[in-house]
Amino acid sequence: MERRDFIKISALSGVMATLEGCRSAEKQLIRFIPEEELIPGIATIKPGVCTVCSAGCGLLVRVMQGEAEVVRHGQQGLIKMGLAKKLEGNPQHPVNQGKLCARGQASLQMLYHPDRITHPIKRTGPRGSGEFQAISWDDALKEVSAHLGTLQASGSANSLGFLSRPLSGQQGELMTKFLKAYGAPPPVWYQPFDEAVLRQANLFSFGHAALPTFDLHLADYVICFGADFLGTWNSPVAQSISYGEMRQGRPGRRAKLVQVETRMSQTGANADEWIACRPGMEGVLALGIAHVILAEKLAPQAPGSRPGSLIDGWQAGLPEYAPEAVEKQTGVSVAVIKRLAHELAQSGLAVAMIGGPPLAHTNGLFNALAVNALESLVDKSSILSFTPQTGDAAPVQATLAALHTLSAQPPQMLLLYEANPVFSAPPATRVREALAKIPYIVSFGSFIDETSVQADLILPDHAALESWIDSVAESGSSRAVASLAPPAVLPLHDTRPMPDVLLGLGRQLGGEVAKALPWATYDAMLRAAFVPLRTRPGSIDVKTDDDFWDAAQTQGGWWSSPSTSPPLAAVKRAPLSAASPQFAGAAADFPFYFLPYVSQSFADGSLAHLPWLQELPDVLTSAMWSSWVEINPNTGDRLGIKQGDLVEIASQQGSVRAAAVLSPGIAPDMVAMPVGQGHENFTRFASGRGANPLSILAPLTEQETGSLAWAATRVKLVRAGGPEQAKLVLFAGGMSAFPHEQERR
């Protein structure tokens, strides 16, 4: 070969190699100039606020430099930017004190989820088909403001609806102000497991329409009726912290936990004594215990307006709740009732709490008032208290009633934010059909789910870690808490924060709406709300409002000094007498009580799209990636159902299929299923997986509040197949059931 040929060949192959390289999309990307200064390899810790549940825990976000594909000004490119690597609890935060639950930890995957909606999209196919095409932000916003303008001009401003997950703090405030100024009804805060019954009961019993706070580290004796307070209920991290202290934080003193329920929850699994009570009869049991305490004068009755006055017969010593009568109704023996009464009264520092299934019966309010009455009889040291609030308490809102209104009179236009009633409301509410009748639906959510797939236009929000976030803690602390965090990372995609989009729409609408929302950006609105907190007692010690605003951002929010609980006083009201729970389905045809329970992994189902949580083994069964139904082993024997078999669970409303898990922690006449799986359309990780127990619920409601009685459905069971069909994936036992290796590589 000649030297010239060699050079030619080399040049040619060089060019070919370059062209080959250009074919890969990544190498065509433009490199943007970094927008922030970071030192490679050094972590920066930034404050954050957890948005996964309403507890409102404070976060620390570990941010390190990395290289990401992003969109800037409509152009895709590569950029060196700060990336969130890990979420920790914020040690300064009064609610979670540096700790964080599994769901909060996993919420990091929402930021990096492969199925996030990365830019505005507009529906092209029929409703619900999931066919969308990209649309520019300018065009999308023009379209929405035109719709809003037309609706207002035609005099039907009251026909604008806003369906959102509950938002505390200024995001909720912004939505409310927007709708009020526009002339529309207030937003509907949708969540399948609302706490309307308990808030209503606490308003009656204690004068606070709020979830309670428990200082368990003070307690020597805890009796809990159904609340999974270590797992998913109320403020689980705060409650777990004080639970740890009541167990081993005080040398020589260890509290007793008694859990009353029909299916063993994660909390029940930790109890010293677990008591099975007939579903819906928890209030009667509480009054049976109170009867013994009153009759034997084990505890002095405090004067004043006490929660007991809300129970019929309290003044007379609850004559209808003698232990013998209570045993017949609850299935709990006289000896146990008497012993519990003595233990509760003798232990100076006792607390009674209620939550979860006992409230989800048609007589839920009665159960709550009964337990509240017992609580005030045994709790001498305010272990139950209420977290001080910075603003007024929101009125108690039962979700189901709002959905019925939506179905009865579908609005002309619906704004939707991270609420998914098509998945989680009982089918009888006919939400899907109601959505079909709404001419124009705009969603701000980051994911396509069963509800947002019905939208005509989707304007995706930033992820929480990319946004200004604030939240107000309803419970979990003796301080008033307003959490706050600026964006921890720059946005990855062509998304815009929902609050800023609303403010922009307000400006375009002009008139009253623009006047009610004078802020240019959402952080300006937050600043206006936070600065007045500077003068509150125990606040951050700084000289100016600017310094206060900076300090609140650095520390992750504002909190007051610890204060004694606001006084508790019962509302004057006609006393309630015992009501038996009603169930949908006759016992002869549907022999089992059906309990859908809030899942440790997926909460109400809104976290089923996170792979870390899909692969998190359920702590009581070790099941992953699948749905299961818990059945008592004796019931399984009787019906010929073995562990892992496929079972069909049918109610009057429909049926679902799931794998059987035989568990000694459930009554023989009850079956239970975790909520969260069974999504039709919710990202690659959750779609088409398992079954949704909420889809067979009857629309029974709690009599007094109208809240969904989600534990009031009865079902029948039949074996529908073997383990091959059921596909139960367990972590424990995985090695022993190791299959033959077909896929060797």
Binding site: G104, Y243, E615, I666, G734
Partner: protein, 235 residues
């Protein structure tokens, strides 16, 4: 004195919430196996929460027990490794040297605690989930065994920082990801050679036991037994 890292698991505080499990995944770049692989027993959890049922309805009892690598002093996984990939560090960790590992899986067979996990595939993350990966921890490739490291990257970072500042490491200055997240403070990590440390104090508790201690593996994880109300009240 050299450090000797250890942990105490207080079974009376553990609630089974599994915050530790997700914290470990996030910190240590543990890949998600997916449903099919998980069904074949290939899901990886360096820390897991086991459950033991006793009794029948209406008196069932459950005991939770978090299980992670016990960082044994006499580790059965170490002598069986033909390539010295399972190796005992001077600070008492059973470390796994990934680039020595040839995937014989002898160590996993020898481990009585079932806390070693084999990479049957190269791990993959659907874009852009890979942006979450912790740059301080290497991603393990196919054919390599992996296990709990006691968050060795955090240990090293803290040691280097202390050395740079010419001071001793303080107890509680850093901790493992699982212990950091644990709401009820059931997991306590620290230096067993520092007699003033919380972990050393708790490890000598009269509630302390070793998991499968009768095998003579000399674990550096101590379990504190659950208390009972009766003991506390009357005993």
């Amino acid at each position: 004195m050299a450090h000797k890292w250890g942990m105490v698991v207080d079974l009376d505080r553990c609630t089974g919430c599994e915050a530790c499990v997700v914290a470990c995944h996030a910190e240590n770049n543990i890949p998600t196996a997916g449903e099919d692989q998980a069904a074949r027993g290939r899901a990886k959890h360096w820390i897991r929460v086991e459950r033991y049922w006793e009794g029948d309805f209406p008196n069932p009892r459950v005991r939770f027990q978090p299980v992670l690598c016990q960082q044994c002093d006499e580790a059965p996984c170490e002598p069986v490794c033909p390539t010295y990939a399972s190796y005992h560090t001077p600070e008492g960790l059973n470390s796994q040297v990934y680039n020595r590992c040839i995937g014989t899986r002898f160590c996993a067979n020898a481990c009585p605690y079932n806390v070693r996990f084999f990479n049957f595939y190269n791990p993959a993350w659907d874009k852009p989930l890979q942006l979450q990966l912790n740059p301080d921890v290497s991603v393990r490739s196919v054919g390599v065994m992996e296990k709990c490291t006691f968050c060795v990257q955090r240990i090293k970072a803290a040691e280097i920082q202390a050395e740079a500042e010419k001071r001793e490491l303080k107890d509680g200055e850093f901790t493992t990801a699982c212990a950091q997240s644990c709401p009820s403070k059931a997991l306590i990590f620290g230096d067993l050679n520092d007699s003033a440390s919380e972990v050393a104090r708790l490890a000598s508790s009269n509630r302390g036991t070793k998991l499968l201690g009768e095998l003579g593996t000399k674990p550096n994880v101590t379990y504190l037994e659950r208390g009972t109300w009766e003991d506390a009240t009357h005993g």
